[in-house]
């Protein structure tokens, strides 16, 4: 058990957890940020995706100690003052979610994609999004929404 200070969504938050605790469970169980989801715990599904210094990472694979030095953004931190990002807007417009459970991870990965590639092709999308599973299989609309957001 030890203290860790994390920089999350523009705020410093301090937690007292064992050093090997993955960032995912720090967010969910200790900071009340439950938008980031658990799906597999092995880096296979992408449900737990957050940004570390702008890059999409799997928070289930990131021990809290390794996250302490960076800037973390979670799904809760994307919108500013209630204003959604164009990608979040596109997600609503295309009615992407079914159950919705994977969608935070999808949006975090797609946000990182658009930050590095503002006009991705279908195959760019496929390559970037292949680490994110959707059990409800909303892939058709994920592609459409990313294209729409890229045009915004």
């Amino acid at each position: 058990m030890s203290q860790h200070t994390l920089h999350i969504n523009g705020q410093n938050r301090t937690v007292d957890v064992s050093d090997d605790t993955p960032l995912l469970w720090v967010l969910r169980d200790h900071l009340g940020l439950v938008g980031t989801k658990y799906g597999c715990g092995k880096g296979l599904c992408g449900a737990c995706t957050v940004h570390l210094n702008g890059a999409a990472v799997r928070s289930c694979q990131l021990p809290v100690g390794a996250a302490a030095s960076g800037k973390i953004t979670t799904i809760e931190g994307l919108a500013r003052n209630e204003k959604l990002t164009p990608l979040q807007e596109a997600w609503i417009e295309h009615d992407v979610p079914q159950c919705g459970y994977c969608q935070a991870g999808q949006i975090m990965t797609a946000t990182a994609l658009l930050a590095s590639n503002s006009k991705p092709s279908d195959s760019d999308i496929d390559a970037a999004m292949s680490g994110n599973l959707c059990r409800c299989a909303t892939y058709t609309r994920i592609r459409q929404a990313i294209h729409t957001a890229a045009k915004a």
Binding site: W25, I75, I92, P97, G100, Y101, D126, L133, A137, Y139
Partner: protein, 740 residues
Amino acid sequence: MNLSPTDTRHPAAIARRDFVKASAIAGGGLLLSALFPSTKAAAATKGSSIFAPNFYIKIASDGLVTIISKNPEIGQGIKTSLPMIIAEELEVPWQNVTVEQAGLVLGLKGWQGAGGSGATPGHYMDFRKVGAVGRTLLEQAAAQKWGVPVAQCQADQGYVKHSASQKKLAYKDLVDIAAQLEVPDPDSVTLKDPKTFKLLGRRITGVDNRAIVTGQPLFGIDQQREGLLHACFVRCPVFGGKPRSANLDTIKRMSGIVDAFIVEGTDDAFGLRPGVAIVARDTWTTFKAQQSLQVLWQDDNASQHNSLLYQEQASQLAREPGQELRSDGDVEGALASAEQVLEATYEYPFLSHTNLEPQNTTALYQDGVMQIWSPTQNAINGHGLVKELFQLEDDKVKIDITRIGGGFGRRLMSDFICEAAAIAHKLEGTPVKVTWTREQDMQHDYYRAAGWHHFKGAVDAQGKISAWSDHFVTFGLDSTEKTGRGAGISSDEFPIRFVENARLSQTILSTNVPMGWWRAPGSCAIAFATQGFIDELAHQAQRDPLQFRLELLGPDRQVAPAGKRGPDYDSGRMKNVLQLAAEKASWGKKLPKGRGQGIAFHFSHRGYVAVVAEVTVAPNGSLSVDKLVAGVDVGPIVNLSGAENQVQGSLIDALSAAWQQEVTIEGGRVRQTNFDDNPMLRIAQSPQIEVHFDQSDNPPTGLGEPAFPPAAPAIANAIYAATGKRIRSMPFSKTDLTWT
């Protein structure tokens, strides 16, 4: 919103017309409460004196409307589509509507669950009526205020208008008068002409979408309470095993652990299973503790169960006669006189549901009340089990239904609710959340049953099926008499009733593997077998697979089920969707070797769906499913966006299951553990999808399931067209598809 019973009059006093009630809201506004579905509710009140409305509409004094959604949302879009039906008839602008999820309401016979694609057909007319009752009351209120006949008053998007005088009043200025009026009989109010619908049939985005894309706590696993502890519940990896002892003292000494104990459980495969509970300050600590947990399990002889053994038994039994479920005409005679008899065995494996949100439930036992927050498709089932386990009265078990991260049938079972309740009972006064690991989720499911179909069939000189015989080998849970849940077959299964000489027989193997309903139970696998063998017969007859199917369906007519057990089969509706899919997919276009089209159809859950698949198979055998085109008739569409989403998802889900997924049993336990050894389709493998609706003039029916079954056989049939290789077993990835 509080959903406590509000009326305890004598049952005889509650007439049919009283199933919708109006009352004033303190501080202004109109509350409509209702018991739905009304027919079942009517029956329910016979034995009960409680008027327990499961359904509310609230029109507040600011004109904003709140509609209760009583059925669980599992991703099928019900929380959006059912309120749309009310809003349409109530004539309120959709942007003024807020939807709230109801918890479990007792005292009802109508099922407050998610399954069987039943919610749309079960509520469509009732919900229109309740919306129309509200609209009528508001029109009557305006008529009274203006002193004009009600017939001259017209509700229109949150206002009532009087065209002659050009007057109009907002609902918010009418609700207090409306609350005092006598409620009209729901059966007598005028419903809107569907041609004038403003909302139904449009694309409406899901009501929770904003909360989803901003990561708000919606799901069962997101539940947070003051002082919440976290728990895991470890069961014997071998089905049915019980813990005899465990290194509990070691576990309890680990940092962050609060408690660890053995839960005796019950023998009910669908209730509280025996296991070891570990309680900690966070989920991660419970996961870690599992690595150090050592349990001495007692698993009797269950560990002999094995998929390879099942395979051997089934292959042999399939060729022998089984128990006859149905026999029409003279199958043996027709086979004997056929020029050539085709014989083939189709098979498919056990499947896990693999909801992306693993099983979880939060519970608090305090002051004799068990409060539960759960992602359940079937809250009343969990209620009954928990009540019984702890000898609690009906009203001492309360269940809040959260949004659900995928249902697919898994959460019709309540084992995980029982676990949370058992731990909460022990920790009286402290809320606790049980969260399963992915590995536990995959290894302790209620699986889609594996099955085998041994077919014999023949075509006559006219190219028609002259004989059809299907010997179905399936599983029973520790039984050779009774099929497991979702493991049965209907004796009407297509093409029975459409072929003169047809026979269906069955053999049940006993297994210790718990089985459960899996999206489109039965159909999800059986369609692969039947539509595959029909394709083989079409090729045998040297007929176009589409034409062959159209002729098999025969003239347009309603074909009744045996013993009036289900809906009629409308062959005309099926032919229409077949032709629709074929036309949109340019069926029959010339394709080079290695590319091919396949077609299939299936009727389930009252829905008619046909799919054309287009695939490319490289000479090295690598498969790419390029496009799936669906023709769908489920009557008029409620929410076009939601409906299309269900079909898109069903088709890709079906491909995912057919191509890559299986659960195998070794030593009485499941071998697969996570998405690495039981993969799920990823975006790069997902085909282009086209969905075409034939919105026939029939009552609207559900769409969570019926688009799933025809996709896999369409793909397998396309692979045959591309390569000449017939796939008769799932997952497809096990068949060598190389060609030269």
